[in-house]
């Protein structure tokens, strides 16, 4: 229930951002929204997809698709000295050498990356 309320307010934010960006480009309709979503964004994909349809109702986005690209959690590994994926959300260790991941460089994204407009 809580998660859903949270994702609904995020979905409304997506619709608002998409409307503004579409208006800037003189578009009358948005047919798809491409979103980058990180595991550390605090946003649950399923709940967001559900909320998105509700948020689009009676707007220029009605009937549009939400295309979600899920990113990975990446660390700048202190041991490898390189960007590496972490093992999992329950284990913040470098997937290559298992060093604890203290510097997270990717995985918090909640970003509008592209629109399909007409």
């Amino acid at each position: 229930m809580w998660a859903q309320m949270h994702e609904l307010s995020i979905a409304l934010g997506i619709v608002e951002a998409a409307q503004e960006e579409a208006a800037k480009r003189g578009a009358s309709r948005v047919t798809a929204v491409h979103l980058k979503l990180g595991p550390l964004s605090g946003v649950v994909k399923d709940a967001l997809e559900f909320s998105y349809g509700v948020a689009c109702a009676d707007t220029t986005l009605q009937g549009s698709r939400l295309v979600i690209e899920e990113t990975r959690i990446m660390t700048l590994c202190a041991n490898c000295g390189e960007r590496r994926p972490v093992e999992s959300l329950q284990s913040f260790r470098c997937a290559v050498c298992e060093t604890p991941a203290t510097e997270i460089v990717e995985g918090r994204e909640l970003q509008l990356v592209a629109l399909e407009i007409e």
Partner: protein
């Protein structure tokens, strides 16, 4: 006839406005010498009892105030007001978390006196607050011994965004057979290197360590 759909690239963070407001708050806290500490936990983990004791202890020494987020009631603010520190309620209605703009609004002409410490008690929820920067310098996640040791694994995101973990209600640890090693290992798994403190608001055990930690941390930020 409709024109052909076209794909346009846009780079825009959905929570950009919140992030901008949070940055402004952080800057404001820094220039006015305020240490802002936010508290997150599940409902019933003991945030309010812990905060009440903290406010009472700090009240004797230096300026302290608290903002309290709650869904509907003002019970928490009334409880905290017993500490005689300035306390202000942010009633979020149906919203399950605080946002930076709510903190900004609550701070218009408030607190009534200069403070060194500002506490921000978030709505009891381990999911939604993870997405929203409030401009705080220190985010504390509280975990009570009665909740079980695996909370960090169930809610890794909020633990990963926090700076310090506080294990609460430790006076009940023995009764519920709390597994300290497992709890610490689980916190370490989702936030390597995170400092873990412990407290009982009821008996006062751990309060001195917590206040010493807070003071050291505040000094390190100056």
């Amino acid at each position: 006839m409709n024109p052909e759909p076209r794909l346009v690239e846009v780079r825009r963070n959905i929570l950009k406005q919140n992030d901008v407001t949070a940055r402004q708050l952080r800057e404001r806290f820094r220039t006015s010498g305020v240490c802002a500490v936010s508290l997150v936990s599940s409902p019933g983990a003991g945030k309010t009892a812990f905060l009440e004791k903290t406010l009472a202890a700090l009240r004797e020494r230096r300026g302290v105030a608290a903002l309290v987020g709650d869904l509907a009631t003002e019970n928490d603010a009334a409880r905290l007001a017993r500490s005689r520190a300035p306390v202000k309620q942010i009633t979020t209605g149906t919203l399950c978390h605080l946002e930076a703009a709510m903190v900004e609004r609550a701070l218009e002409g408030w607190p009534p006196e200069p403070v060194k410490y500002l506490f921000i008690e978030n709505v009891g929820n381990l999911v939604c607050p993870a997405s929203y920067d409030l401009g705080e310098d220190l985010r504390m996640v509280l975990l009570s011994v009665t909740e079980g040791e695996d909370k960090p694994l169930k809610y890794p995101t909020i633990f990963n965004t926090a700076d310090v973990a506080m294990i609460t209600k430790i006076d009940l640890a023995e009764a519920v057979e709390f597994d300290w090693a497992a709890a610490r290992a689980n916190i370490e798994a989702v936030r390597p290197g995170m400092q873990v403190l412990q407290v009982s608001a009821k008996t006062g055990e751990g309060m001195a360590d917590w206040l010493a930690f807070l003071e050291r941390w505040a000094e390190s930020r100056q």
